[in-house]
């Protein structure tokens, strides 16, 4: 038998329009902790879902314990000796900890289907003892802290006695104390010969616990190194390592007065002490990994959430923004990150989607003035080059790029002074993307102030006049357009 427990060869996976994984290889040694690194969208999670049987690869071979492995679902993966800690927690809140751990494999009295609760609790207790976790298995899941839920998730993954455990960002919700505990668990598993794939964005953790590191970038395998023979900077180089090929249409705009000024904004558990200024004519990029707290900050500025402390000034005047209504009155617009969840009204038409946040402008004696609506909406359709046969088309029948343009049009109809764009080109095709970029640049030239959150480095670098770097709820630094590059941003984020 070979020294590797898991060998992947030439794995390719395509989603409509995107090659998520391109000819990937990966080899995991028996009893090793193998770190997987890469930016958002590098393909790590997709690959893990393939190993765990959630996705099927288009091509390629998975060899597990020397034999070719073909799993059609998580249940089968577990049977073969693979378990996984998922990035997102999915507890059943109203069931006990023990019931959650043994969900789908309950102990029952013979084949009666009658669940043996006592045994589940006993087994859970034994499991927690061996892992040195201090949680009562009879508590309801909903009564646990997020950190403890994560520990239960970890314990569940361990309880399958798997030969390979995939940990997808297992420390995203836990504190240093629990991280130490987790590392203890990992080391004892390792001593028993269990192999672990460890995905994390946290450099210090990676270097502390991993034996080997593999880097992915844009769905491609970049390389595998022993953790001892590589340093942080080289690792960042490997993760970034690309020239920016895309062209960004950023024209120079004159920076005018400060329009928005945020002072010491804090929201417990989300972000602390965020301060920044925004000028008319400026595009301010906010960079950071998922979970950096970027969306949370702008949600507080837009009145979706309320900050615990801190002040917001617009044109030098202190403002209280308690609801999106207030924000709109202050001429702020927010294009949200999740088009389907918080942006589009899917069952409604383009026309209705456009006018909804600004209906008062179209009212005439209480009625909506059809002609005015048509005129203004058609103006936007033309301006943004929205591809649709007519305004009555339902927004759900449009492509992602055109949907995004309709939502942009909605906010432009408000004639805002401050535009906040959260991942404005996510899930948008290349053509629409460049059109949206051109529009952003044009708006800045007209003296509008733009805040753009983006997880795409080239976009951040290409479009921003200034870049704020956030990491784990803290503003780590600021870079001007000229001095900014990918390495610097990652360095600031990680230090």
């Amino acid at each position: 038998m070979s020294e590797y427990i898991l060998e992947l060869e030439n794995i390719t996976k395509e989603f409509p329009g995107v090659k998520a994984l391109d000819n990937i290889q990966l080899k995991i040694r028996k009893g090793s902790v193998h770190g997987l690194m890469g930016e958002n969208g590098a393909g790590k999670s997709t690959l893990m879902k393939i190993i765990f049987g959630i996705y099927t690869p288009d091509t390629g071979i998975i060899r597990f314990k020397g034999k070719e492995l073909k799993v059609s679902g998580p249940k089968e993966a577990v049977k073969n000796g693979i378990s996984m800690i998922h990035q997102e927690l999915s507890p059943v809140p109203h069931m006990t900890v023990a019931e959650n751990i043994f969900l789908g494999r309950e102990f029952s009295f013979g084949k009666t289907g009658w669940v043996n609760n006592k045994k589940m609790v006993e087994e859970s207790r034994r499991l927690f003892e061996t892992l040195n976790i201090n949680i009562d298995p009879t508590t309801k899941m909903k009564d646990l802290s997020i950190a403890n839920m994560q520990m239960v998730e970890i314990a569940t993954a361990v309880s399958y006695n798997a030969d390979l455990i995939i940990m997808d960002e297992p420390t995203s919700a836990i504190t240093d104390k629990e991280v130490e505990q987790l590392f203890g668990i990992i080391r004892s598993l390792q001593a028993k010969g269990v192999s672990i794939i460890y995905i994390s964005h946290k450099m210090d953790e990676i270097f502390k616990i991993c034996d080997e590191l593999t880097v992915f970038r844009d769905g491609q395998y970049i390389g595998t190194k022993s953790a001892k023979e590589i340093d942080e900077n080289t690792l960042i180089q490997m993760m970034v390592g690309r020239e920016i090929k895309q062209v960004f249409h950023k024209e120079k705009a004159e920076l005018l007065d400060v329009i928005l000024s945020v002072k010491n904004l804090s929201r417990k558990g989300k972000f602390q002490n965020i301060s920044f200024e925004l000028r008319k004519g400026e595009i301010l990029g906010i960079a950071g990994l998922m979970g950096a707290g970027r969306t949370e900050v702008i949600e507080c500025i837009f009145g979706i959430d309320t900050p615990d402390t801190g002040e917001i000034y617009i044109n030098g005047k202190k403002v209280k923004i308690k609801s999106p209504e207030d924000a709109i009155k202050n001429k702020i617009a927010l294009l949200t990150e999740d088009r389907k969840l918080t942006g589009a009204f899917l069952p409604l038409s383009i026309r209705e989607n456009m006018i909804i946040s600004n209906i008062n402008r179209f009212l005439k004696g209480g009625y909506i003035n059809k002609r005015l609506v048509k005129e203004k909406c058609n103006e936007q359709v033309e301006l943004l080059n929205i591809k649709t046969p007519h305004l009555d088309q339902l927004i759900m029948n449009l492509s992602g790029g055109n949907q995004q343009k309709v939502l942009l049009a909605r906010w432009l109809l408000n004639d805002p002074d401050i535009l906040i764009l959260d991942e404005p080109t996510r899930g948008v095709d290349v053509g629409a993307k460049s059109e949206i970029h051109k529009l952003m640049s044009k708006l800045a030239q007209q003296g509008k102030a733009v805040i753009m959150i983006s997880s795409e480095m080239p976009e951040i670098l290409g479009m921003s006049d200034r870049i704020i770097v956030m990491h784990e709820g803290i503003k780590k630094g600021e870079l001007g357009r000229e001095e900014a590059n990918q390495e610097k941003i990652l360095e600031i984020a990680y230090h």
Binding site: F15, P16, G17, V18, A20, L21, N40, G41, A42, G43, K44, S45, T46, L47, K49, G219, M290, F302, I304, S323, P324, E325, A327, I328, K329, L334, T336, R339, L341, T342, G343, A344, F345, L346, P347, L348, E352, I356, S357, I359, N360, L363, G366, Y367, I368, T388, P389, L394, M396, N397, L398, S399, G400, G401, N402, Q403, R410, R426, G427, D429
Partner: protein, 332 residues
């Protein structure tokens, strides 16, 4: 990470023949399909029963469904917001006894009507405030109102009918203007006003927006709670109007009036294409839905089919309508 957002398929780039089907004929049928169903029923019945197409019979059908129709219009607006109103029937009963206790000969008609309207507005406001500010599903808050308002009606009337209503009041239920029964005229007025409200005003657009995506509605600066409360008040108001018309029609205030009216009203809305998933539904649709129920009941009566069968058929029609609706949604 890694999994791209799958973009919604565009209908634009497909072959032109399919375009015609997908963009013209398909939507036309799905938009007006329910009208064809009604027309088919009318045509078939006109052959089966000679008395069906007589003016008197047709007026009868419409008058019978005007009460459910009025309630159904309010319920439609509520359902568009993904809500529900189970209290309509009980609000009818409470309105009935409260109004009947005042609308005796010699008392002011206007004040009688104001009392009735007041009952509906109050019940609707309570429904709306408890659902929004109390963050309770409207199913529960209106279920509570359904039980409580019925109890209150029984308590207030001591469980007995309240007779001796004034002639002007009874005219609302029994009168005829230019050959048309008054309830039909009021039904038509309510339908027109509600349709304009829903299709042409801010109130209407916000109703669809709240039902289409409540998160997005908040982000668009809509005061969702305020509009929801207004919507429940409107539904309550329409229930009390139906309550007054029914009371005038039977010439007596009844605490047992309107039992299971809410379910017939919901049925009319659903048959008329209102989606319980929210964001979809029209007043003309609901009126057609109510007419279908009315024609069905009347036809089966004329054909001498037992009322047991009528219930079974009505059930089948409701479920079929939603089945078609959910298939439509799946395709999108």
């Amino acid at each position: 990470m890694g999994n791209p957002t799958s973009s919604t398929a565009t209908a634009v780039n497909q072959g032109s023949e399919r375009n015609l089907w997908k963009e013209k004929i398909g939507p036309f049928i799905s938009k007006y399909g329910i009208v064809f169903v009604l027309l088919a029923m009318v045509i078939i019945m006109s052959f089966l029963s000679p008395s069906f197409l007589k003016t008197q019979n047709l007026l009868n059908i419409v008058r019978q469904i005007s009460f459910i129709g009025i309630v159904g219009i309010g319920v439609t607006i509520v359902i568009i917001t993904t809500g529900i109103d189970l209290s309509s029937g009980s609000v009818i009963a409470l309105t009935s006894v409260m109004v009947a206790s005042f609308a005796h000969p010699g008392n002011s008609l206007i004040i009688s009507l104001l009392i009735g309207v007041g009952v509906g507005v109050a019940c609707g406001a309570i429904n709306g405030i408890i659902s929004t500010k109390g963050k309770i599903p409207p199913f529960i808050s209106t279920l509570g109102m359904m039980t409580a308002a019925r109890g209150l009606a029984l308590l207030y009337s001591d469980g007995r009918p309240i007779p001796n209503l004034s002639d002007p009041f009874m005219f609302l239920g029994r009168g005829v203007i230019a050959g048309i029964p008054v309830p039909i005229i009021i039904f038509a007025l309510v339908g027109i006003v509600s349709h304009i409200l829903l299709a042409k005003t801010k109130f209407g657009k916000y109703t669809y927006a709240i039902g289409g995506n409540v998160q997005a509605a908040k982000i668009c600066g809509i005061n969702v709670d305020r509009y929801l409360i207004l919507i429940y008040i409107y539904a309550g108001l329409l229930s009390s109007i139906a309550g007054m018309l029914l009371t005038a029609r039977v010439s007596v205030g009844q605490p047992s009036m309107g039992v299971s009216f809410e379910l017939d009203a919901i049925a009319a809305a659903v048959i008329g294409g209102t989606s319980l998933a929210g964001g979809v539904g029209t007043i003309p649709g609901t009126i057609i839905g109510a007419l279908i129920i009315g024609v069905l009941n009347n036809s089966l009566d004329l054909l001498g089919v037992s009322s047991y069968w009528q219930q079974i058929l009505k059930g089948a029609i409701i479920v079929s309508a939603v089945l078609i609706d959910s298939r439509k949604n799946k395709k999108a």
